[in-house]
Symmetry: C2
Subunit: 373 residues, 2 copies
């Protein structure tokens, strides 16, 4: 039995590994579920996808699919009956659905990570309580709150809805008093959070994993480039000093330990002249970790399956430098041409309809053997 | 349009690439079909597996499965109706089934490679006619033929049934006159071939691919170790002199060109003090190419799908040295422990029943960045 490190809480439930042939239930049927299902199959696991929409990308690579809403208690119960462990592939799965399933089967990562990640204010509060640096922030429930928060945090800042925002949706920049009017609208559609806008030199993310025995493992940080609020590109290695790299990895480890986390997590970090700030985390495999499919022996998807099934975590070492580029909307037109580029791996998600802003696939260009920046 | 090389016959049918969303039909549902289906999904293709046995390993990763015999003309016809291209994942698919489907849809690689590979005498004759060195051999239809063949080829030799042998089945060593009696029995169960037994220093195999435009691409040769007639291990790089490596790759290229081949092929080659001899080829992805899953940006399965779908072939360069070990029968017991080894990727086939001699999965141990022996 391995010795638990001091930083790993003893409260971690130790669980026996699931044998090959066990059934992994996946809540959500998008591309992340698809790549999780593929990885689960490599470990001999069977998979059952639960998703509201018919013929989701993950169904192609799964043994079974349930098409039902996350509010359908009876369907959730039947799903729980036929799986051995449950995970989720996106963080907007209702916590109530996870609670419902959790009565019958283990859900990993658990409900705590999900609940915190669903609420930007809870998330920032949790990060600060965990001793990690974050941008200044304030809860905003009303136009009055907004005025007070802006007075305290100043310009430039950014107002975000507390819940269900992604890819830049539900956000408004407040660079001066002239932006307040637009921002007030967001406060009217629900709780929001005002955050200091960080002047960062770059954004990196750390993909971490923590298994049944509580030991965190992290991949090398990747450097992200966004466009219109959507991730365009992640490259490894990120341009980080050795000390920054270590701190970024430690931040991810701290979050996983504090949450007694089991599974893969994606942690976004701003690099600023004053140090590293955690922006947010996603309690799931992460777009910025897709490079691991061609940069490591064990990728983030297999790592997640290993973790939730109680298997030993795999080697997170990077054997190659990689540039991952998302194929968004009409980028799909060039997929075939990209296939002709050397050292380029194509990963398409099997989505029938090409829509602007829709993630259709990604490309990993292996740029050479692993080096440090 | 790329210029065709002199060695690529102009007779190659040029075909347009299939778009993502096209349906790849796979005849056979074993682990090779499973890994082909996974690769096809990565390229956004849908898959339809046709196999006689229910719940085959490939079904888990496919959109659709047809459970029917290869002699079921009606089922073959219905299958052809709903796919865009057809391939096979094992070489004992009846040529008649391929002919039946071929009336409606392209089958790649075509019927010629399949027909030759199904008959050891045809195969050896084809190789010799292609100018490649093979062991001395003779057709054996009767005990009388056997006596004459042994007189001509001498001891030690090996008698093999011409058709449907694999993993050492249907073979008898003839090391001296005392072995003739056993060997005679094989001649009674159908046509056979007597081959000179080669005293080789090692066996290597070349995984090659040839696409819609007729250009062959080959992976680095792997070195194979068998036990009881079953492949146990393939390691790259193989211990070959530079000249031998080039000759091995050229042999695979010659076979593909002669067959006007489209798809991935596995060519087994003996290294002897007198040079390289081709032992046999398999017109499909090959067990000795499983190392490519963790040693290359584009593995043999994706390469095959690219070829049969008319996509550009991927980069076959090796980024890492790999040792591939098959998990056979009760080896499955150690799969979980192997998962704890560093730089080790597990690939299980989802087979429910563990049987002696049955290939249950394989393990790729990445031993370092690509080097030459």
């Amino acid at each position: 039995m391995p010795v638990r490190s001091a930083s790993s809480p003893l409260t971690t439930e130790r669980f026996a590994p699931l044998p090959p042939g066990a059934v992994v239930g996946i809540l959500g049927g998008g591309q992340l579920g698809r790549m999780l299902a593929s990885a689960a199959a490599r470990l001999g696991m069977r998979t059952h996808v639960y998703a509201p929409d018919p013929d989701p990308p993950a169904a192609q690579l799964s043994n079974r699919t349930t098409t039902a809403d996350f509010e359908d208690d009876e369907a959730l119960r039947r799903f729980a009956d036929v799986v051995d462990v449950v995970t989720y592939e996106f963080e907007n799965v209702p916590v109530e659905a996870v609670d419902r399933i959790g009565k019958y089967r283990p859900v990993r990562p658990g409900r705590q990570a999900l609940a915190i990640a669903q609420d930007r204010f809870e998330e920032k509060s949790f990060l600060r309580k965990s001793g990690l640096c974050v941008a200044r922030f304030a809860n905003v429930e009303s136009p009055q709150d907004l005025a007070e928060a802006v007075a305290s945090i100043g310009y430039p800042s950014i107002l975000k809805s507390r819940r269900f925002g992604y890819d830049g949706k539900g956000q408004a920049s407040i660079d001066g008093p002239e932006d307040l009017e637009t921002a007030v609208r967001i406060t009217k559609s629900g709780s929001a959070i005002l955050e200091q806008k960080i002047q960062f030199s770059r954004e990196v993310s750390v993909i971490g994993a923590r298994g049944a025995h509580g030991f965190p493992v992290c991949y090398d940080p990747g450097e992200n480039r966004h466009q219109n609020g959507i991730l365009r590109e992640t490259r490894v290695p990120a341009r980080l000093a050795a000390g920054e790299r270590a701190r970024a990895i430690h931040m991810a480890g701290t979050i996983m330990d504090r949450l007694d986390y089991v599974g893969v997590i994606g942690v976004e970090i701003f690099v600023t002249p004053d140090g590293l700030l955690v922006n947010e985390f996603a309690p799931r495999v992460h777009n910025s970790g897709h490079w691991t499919l061609n940069g490591c022996v064990v990728d983030q998807f297999e790592q997640h399956i290993r973790a939730i099934c109680g298997w030993p975590l795999g080697d997170a070492r990077r054997h190659s430098d990689v540039v991952m580029s998302n194929l968004i909307g009409s980028d799909m037109r060039v997929a075939h041409d990209l296939a002709a580029c050397s050292s380029t791996a194509i990963h398409l998600y099997g989505k029938r309809d090409v829509r602007p802003g829709r993630k259709m696939g990604h490309v990993n260009r292996v740029t050479g053997p692993a080096g440090l920046d």
